[in-house]
């Protein structure tokens, strides 16, 4: 199953603090470097779980620090 970056960006835009410029985050950039903190992250991954019906462990989240990595992770889970 293919997941679009736009879908993920929309969830980020909805859940992440307004001070983070979600639209312009490079898909390879480190989300924490872009200002996404641990609280934003909790909101985003909960919303991603609800949206795509996949489960993220704490270890998964620690590794998924770019939009591209999140996209690939969801696609791999949906294809499994």
């Amino acid at each position: 199953m293919e997941v679009s970056l736009e879908q993920i960006r929309e969830i980020f835009a909805r859940e992440v603090d307004k001070k983070v410029d979600v639209k312009n985050i490079d898909s390879h950039a480190s989300l924490s470097d872009e200002g996404v903190d641990s609280l934003d992250s909790a909101s985003v991954f909960l919303a991603l779980e609800d949206e795509f019906n996949v489960k993220f462990t704490d270890d998964d989240i620690a590794k998924l620090d770019t939009l591209n990595k999140i996209k690939a992770f969801i696609e791999s889970k949906k294809s499994a």
Partner: protein
């Protein structure tokens, strides 16, 4: 439908000894924005080393006595909600009984619950008073987490403050409760736990729990009470953090004014957050229907609708 037993008055004690979270910006790599806008707690109250849990209860009682006349003879029961007692044995309420010099035929027991404790215990004390035809009971909440905080743990060190509250429950209430909801997800008990005298909290798990379960619980609560969201004047949620409250506001689609975060200056005082907030609204008749909702250790939750009694004479 309201019952005749309910909340008559509330008083509290917050130790006048604070730790500013702005002093920990470097150690925890956080900024002012994170402190003010995200966790919302600028400083946490902390009891003195010489104070114990029962002492906090006694200070709350002294505050109550300054503002309202209450006859000790009328007090038929005392409940203390705590998971950080003075000692494992005896129960804190027995020490409070001694300090307050209450009559011998007064029932005293503790309830072991965390942040959901006030709401659970309110249901217990109301039923206990009604069943036994008592006049009044004292419901104390006192859970000084400073005893168990790991000061190097960013997840907890910036959040929890010490305080105690005492709620007088009796037959001349200002607020009576409607129907309650209760719940427990026991399989998640390790997400908020004290091991070897140190508190551990998985912040993400607690967030997920609150964001998933509490909005559903609000809908169930309103349904049980045959009420609608817009008939509630105020939602007093346990003050886990500003971020938790903001999340509930967003998920419930209610205004931020209806669900305030008020713990900025003292922190998350566990089972005392709700009675501390509620005390400020007791005499404000603009608020008729108030939801109180506690959630945390267990993981557990409980909610009820408090309905103002128009004529309690």
């Amino acid at each position: 439908m309201t019952k005749k037993v309910g909340i008559e008055s509330i008083a509290y004690y917050i130790p006048d000894n604070y730790k500013s979270n702005f002093n920990f910006k470097e150690e925890f790599e956080i900024d002012d924005y994170f402190i003010v806008e995200k966790i919302g707690v600028k400083r946490v109250s902390q009891k003195l080393a010489t104070e114990d849990t029962s002492d906090l209860c006694i200070k709350a009682w002294e505050s109550l006595r300054q503002n309202s006349a209450i006859e000790k003879e009328e007090i038929d029961c005392v409940i203390v909600v705590t998971q950080n007692p003075d000692n494992n044995i005896p129960h804190v309420s027995a020490k409070v009984h001694e300090a307050l010099d209450l009559k011998e035929n007064c029932a005293c027991f503790d309830i072991s619950l965390g942040c959901s404790g006030f709401v659970y215990a309110l249901s217990v004390i109301e039923s206990f008073i009604e069943t036994n035809n008592f006049k009044k009971g004292l419901l104390f909440t006192a859970d000084p987490y400073s005893k168990i905080i790991d000061r190097k743990d960013k997840n907890t060190a910036l959040l929890f403050g010490d305080a105690a509250a005492v709620t007088v429950v009796g037959q001349k209430p200002i607020f009576c409760s409607g129907k309650y909801t209760f719940g427990t997800i026991g399989k998640m008990h390790k997400e908020l736990i004290c091991n070897n005298s140190l508190l551990y909290m998985n912040g993400r798990s607690i967030f997920d729990f609150v964001a998933r379960y509490i909005p559903k619980d609000m809908n169930l609560l309103l349904e049980k009470n045959e009420m609608r969201m817009d008939s509630i004047d105020l939602f007093l949620f346990h003050q886990g953090s500003k971020y938790i409250i903001d999340t509930l506001v967003k998920r419930l689609k209610i205004s931020a004014e209806k669900a305030p975060f008020l713990a900025n200056e003292y922190g998350n005082t566990v089972s005392s957050t709700i009675p501390i907030m509620l005390s400020d609204f007791l005499d404000n008749h603009a608020y008729t229907n108030i939801v109180i909702c506690g959630f945390g250790v267990g993981l557990s939750w409980s909610s009820c609708v408090l309905k103002r009694v128009i004529n309690n004479k």
